[in-house]
Amino acid sequence: MGKRDVQICFRFPSGTLEMEPPPNGVVRTPLNSVVVQRRSKSKSYRLSYRSCLGAASRLGFTPALTARRLNTSRRAPRSRNISEKVNSEQLALLLKTEWRLSYVTPLFKFRHTQLKSYSRQLSAFIAAEKQQGLAVDVEGSQSGFRVSFSVVQGMTETDDDAETVLIQIHTNPLFARQDEPQRSVWSGLLTCINGNTDYLHSLPKDFICLPLFGCSGSEVLTTLVKSWFQQAFDCSFGPLEISHTSLQWLVALWTNCHSESGIQQLKMIWTLPVVPPLQITYTVNPQDAWELWSSVRRDPQEENEGGEAGTSIDIKEVMRFVQGLKGHFYRHFRLDLSSGSLKQVSTALGSAKYNGRIKISNSRYMITTLTLLTECALLKMPI
């Protein structure tokens, strides 16, 4: 492979993030990895033969072949107090924001140790782009935008997950007084929670996979941030919708939490393909939803034999639950929701929309939701 053995370790076990930049000898690996050499025949044999089916290549994980799809069963959301582990300021930001989601292909040579430098570079990039068309910097030295990258520690679930990265952009208000603090105008989130281990392992060390990207703030800045990432880490961004099935999962997962923290109400928006299009807002009393959910759950007794009680939820249960909700609606309004699709779900724990907007309101169940979304994002990976 012509690759030197020295590699930077960028998958930090949580807590070791304050690592010093590695000494020079180590840093110079990446460029050295391109060692020009005569292509030996045996090598080209291997590479030519590397189809996406070749056992050797990571591409053996091609979705078309392994039929990667959403897990059919997932752990029930455990109430996890991540507020103890995660910085409260960061957590507050994560919770108060409605994120617009995208998927990102793995980042090439992204390093958690370089975040300071990335902040500088992205600030400069934004300043430069903003001034395009102006031949001179008429505003003077203060470029207006300050970018900060930071790591959200304590979010990872497995050792393979890369640490979550938070990006914030601040600016001076237009008519600012001297002492006025900078205002946050944009924030972004790159994360990977419980990412598929096989997939993550199949990536070479140079890549870091943070497939889920959420952002909130002006569209212009989003575009700028994305294009900087594309240039800096050779990655691509695509929109991530939250599919009908994923939304149904969220309905069930959130309802499942009701006993621990009230969901207040279960509100769903369905659309039916009729002319003119029909949008139905369907709100369920939390207690009713909970009882329906409990009734479709597998017999806990039976489950006990398998393992811990109530730890896993199966897609069949989700479908039964949704079917129950649909059936109820049909009895009252003679309208079968099966022909339509679920566009939006909201409870006190959060809200999710089909067009890829999500707001997570309760930190205790954040991990479960992000796990589901990470899975959706990984499903969109081209290879």
Binding site: N24, S48, R50, S51, V138, L203
Partner: protein, 719 residues
């Protein structure tokens, strides 16, 4: 007049300088002169050149009204301008004509409006035109139009030095109220530090006090302030509307259209441009998945630079293959690997380096682009951008062709795309992409390839069927070629040496090939029935079997698969002599392959075992063919095709056993008749049976072979 000489000068001086050098190299010179003459001759006949000549030579004061010659020539120039743009000489001629007001002011506007340069605008022409402004006979509105034109084509002016040297002259126009905004813009583009002078600053401030704080004045002043802060004390507001107003001039759209047209022509004429095309001209898209990233060097490299003693050369800086070779050891890959797709130079490097991360980056980007464009789009967006999609796929194809292997991401994409493809969207491109995919293990080949392809095949038109068979033939050829290269190297033992980590053994490879051949056999059998043995389809199927019959000798793959009867018999009875001949050739090649395999089997143990079934099938086909074509023993008992005796009698065909021999076979009947006439020119009644006597028969065979039916000749060699 002097100007005219200058403008038309170049050709004369060129040829004279050529003749000056002639002493040194006569032969080269002669060919140059011949070419030059040829070019001139062509030009002399080109109406556009004549039209331009008219405008450069026309006498001052020639009337415009009722002047047909003028009208015709101007229309010619206009048409050329809007379609291809004008060459730099043409721009110079027309600009000079317009600004000199040789035929008055009325044609001036019209000419200015059609001044769309195809490449560059010569600086001298612009300078001369500016000088004409000073003569002062041109109406103000036309002057404004001219300055707007200069602003529009500013980036296309080949040099700016002379324009800068008349900075003061241009500056003098700012006092003209209507011209001022445009002159300011032009000055803004031309200003250098040395052009900022106290008197100019004063003039602008004076104007400002007269006209108010106009943005164009402010912009120019702010630029002056940047160069010479000590001269401009005025405070410039921190936030200004950005830039000068974008004049929605009449040329913009025409210019873009011309550039785009020329650009696409360039792109299509050379499949892989040597350098990356500048992206600035490409129009903005709402969904830009298919846009290649610009080739640029790494953004964040400060971490690495200091530790590096040797200097790395970014790929962007290399422009030739020689440079690539010289810097091979210290090339830096670009920031975005997707940008390599457009550059053959970069691809050569990529092919040589075989860096896994680099390939993976390229694959991620490519896969992303393909998925977003064709799979995740949903609302029929793909068809809207089919032009771009087409170009993108063509580029991808030429890249894969260049590298002689497929990208794994395009392969993975195809497997998904096949199940949603309608079989017509971008058919040629998708089929060629498909033909590039590497060997698919036999366990998955059915689900990934055959199932979706079968559905498409049976529900699509004849042309799709032909296209698919051709595509599968190409796929097979690529697999076999791949095998022949590596099998030879590894002494037939590709059953995986230690250095490879693929779990494909020789037998695994054989299985895949066999699956593919059988699959095409099934498609061909049913396809021929569905399409009534259409000869076009038949021809593509025969192409495929021409590949199949030679797998052992040509590609060293020990595998012989016979065509199914549903392919063999329709070809044998085809009314088309070429098909029958090709079948004979294919059977001949099968024979050669089988005999050589058999002889090898005796010599080495390594050779493979061909099943008896294959020999039996082959022998059966040969017997049928010989009996049918040569021996007139059709429907002989014990042959592949059997019909009941009574049934044959009932058909009332006389001598039915002869009806498919070389004389009576529908494909050869016309030859038999022709031969009969030549052999016995006097005979009135045609008796084809007389050909079957031994002497005429051998003549007849000779005659057939002489008509180019070599397959038949090879199949049954002369005794």
């Amino acid at each position: 007049m002097a100007a005219k000489k200058n403008l038309l000068g170049p050709t004369d001086s060129d040829s004279s300088s050529v003749s000056d050098q002639s002493a040194s190299n006569r032969s080269v010179n002669r060919s140059l002169r011949v070419a030059e003459k040829e070019r001139r001759k062509n030009e002399a006949e080109d109406p556009l050149v004549l039209a331009l000549k008219y405008f450069s030579d026309v006498e001052a004061g020639t009337p415009v009204v009722g002047n047909d010659e003028f009208e015709n020539n101007l229309v010619l120039v206009e048409r050329a301008a809007y379609s291809k743009g004008l060459s730099s000489e043409a721009v110079a001629v027309m600009l000079e004509f317009a600004m000199s007001l040789r035929m008055g002011t009325s044609p001036c506007v019209r000419v200015l409006k059609c001044l769309i340069p195809s490449t560059v605008v010569p600086q001298e022409a612009v300078v001369r035109a500016v000088v004409w402004l000073g003569v002062g006979k041109i109406p103000i509105s036309t002057q404004v139009l001219f300055i707007k034109w200069v602003l529009t084509v500013f980036d296309m002016i080949d040099a700016k030095d002379q324009l800068r040297s008349i900075y003061g002259f241009i500056f003098s126009f700012v006092t003209e109220e209507n011209l001022c905004p445009f002159i300011c813009h032009l000055l803004y583009l031309l200003t250098r530090k040395e052009s900022v002078r106290v008197f100019r600053v004063r003039k602008l401030l004076e104007l400002q006090s007269k006209l108010g704080r106009q943005p164009f004045l402010l912009h120019l002043l702010s630029l002056y302030k940047v160069f010479c802060p000590e001269l401009v004390t005025l405070s410039v507001p921190s936030r200004m509307r950005s830039g000068f107003r974008n004049h929605n001039s009449p040329w913009k759209s025409a210019l873009i259209a011309v550039q785009k047209r020329n650009g696409s022509q360039v792109a299509s004429s050379s499949s892989l441009p040597f350098t990356i095309k500048d992206m600035s001209s490409s129009r903005k898209r709402k969904h830009g998945h298919l846009e290649l990233p610009v080739l640029s060097s790494l953004v964040n490299k400060q971490a690495q630079t200091e530790s590096f003693s040797r200097k790395l050369v970014p790929l962007v800086q290399l422009h030739s293959f020689t440079q690539l070779l010289e810097n091979m050891h210290r090339i830096e890959l670009p920031a975005q690997m997707g940008s390599l797709l457009g550059s053959s130079l970069a691809l050569q490097y990529l092919d040589c380096v075989q860096d896994e991360s680099a390939l993976l980056r390229l694959n991620f980007w490519l896969g992303y682009a393909l998925h977003e464009e064709f799979l995740f789009c949903g609302d029929g967006r793909a068809s809207q951008n089919s032009e771009e999609a087409l170009q993108f796929l063509d580029k991808l194809l030429s890249t894969q062709h260049f590298l002689q292997e497929a990208f794994s991401s395009s392969e993975a994409f195809l497997y998904k795309f096949l199940s949603v493809w309608d079989g017509s969207l971008l058919r040629p491109q998708i089929l060629s992409l498909l033909s590039h995919i590497p060997v698919v293990p036999s366990a998955q080949i059915g689900r990934l390839l055959f199932e979706p392809l079968m559905q498409l095949f049976f529900t699509s038109s004849l042309f799709f069927k032909c296209g698919l068979i051709e595509c599968l033939n190409n796929m097979l050829l690529k697999w076999l070629t791949w095998h022949s290269v590596y099998a030879l190297e590894d002494d037939l033992d590709i059953s995986l040496n230690s250095h490879t980590s693929i779990n494909m053994t020789l037998s695994g490879f054989k299985d895949s090939v066999m699956e593919l051949v059988h699959f095409v056999g099934r498609l061909a059998s049913v396809g021929l029935q569905l399409e009534g043995c259409h000869s076009l389809l038949l021809s593509f199927i025969l192409d495929f079997y021409e590949t199949v019959c030679d797998t052992f000798l040509r590609y060293g793959l020990p595998l012989v698969v016979m065509p199914p009867p549903a392919v063999f018999y329709p070809v044998l009875f085809s009314p088309d002599p070429v098909s029958v001949d090709r079948l004979a050739y294919i059977m001949y090649r099968y024979k050669v392959n089988l005999t050589s395999a058999k002889s090898q089997e005796k010599v080495t143990e390594q050779a493979f075992h061909i099943s008896r079934q294959t020999f039996r099938e082959f022998n059966n086909y040969v017997v049928v063919m010989v009996n049918c074509l040569w021996n007139s023993k059709m429907f002989h008992p014990g042959m592949g095709v059997q019909l009941g005796e009574e049934l044959l009698l009932k058909s009332n065909v006389p001598q039915y056993w002869t009806s498919f021999d070389l004389v009576n076979h529908p494909a050869f009947l016309s030859y038999a008749v022709d031969f009969h006439q030549r052999c016995w020119p006097g005979r009135k009644d045609v008796d084809l049976n007389s050909i079957k006597h031994s002497k005429p028969w051998s003549w007849y065979l000779e005659y057939l072979y002489s008509q180019g039916y070599d397959g038949l000749k090879q199949f049954v060699p002369a005794p």
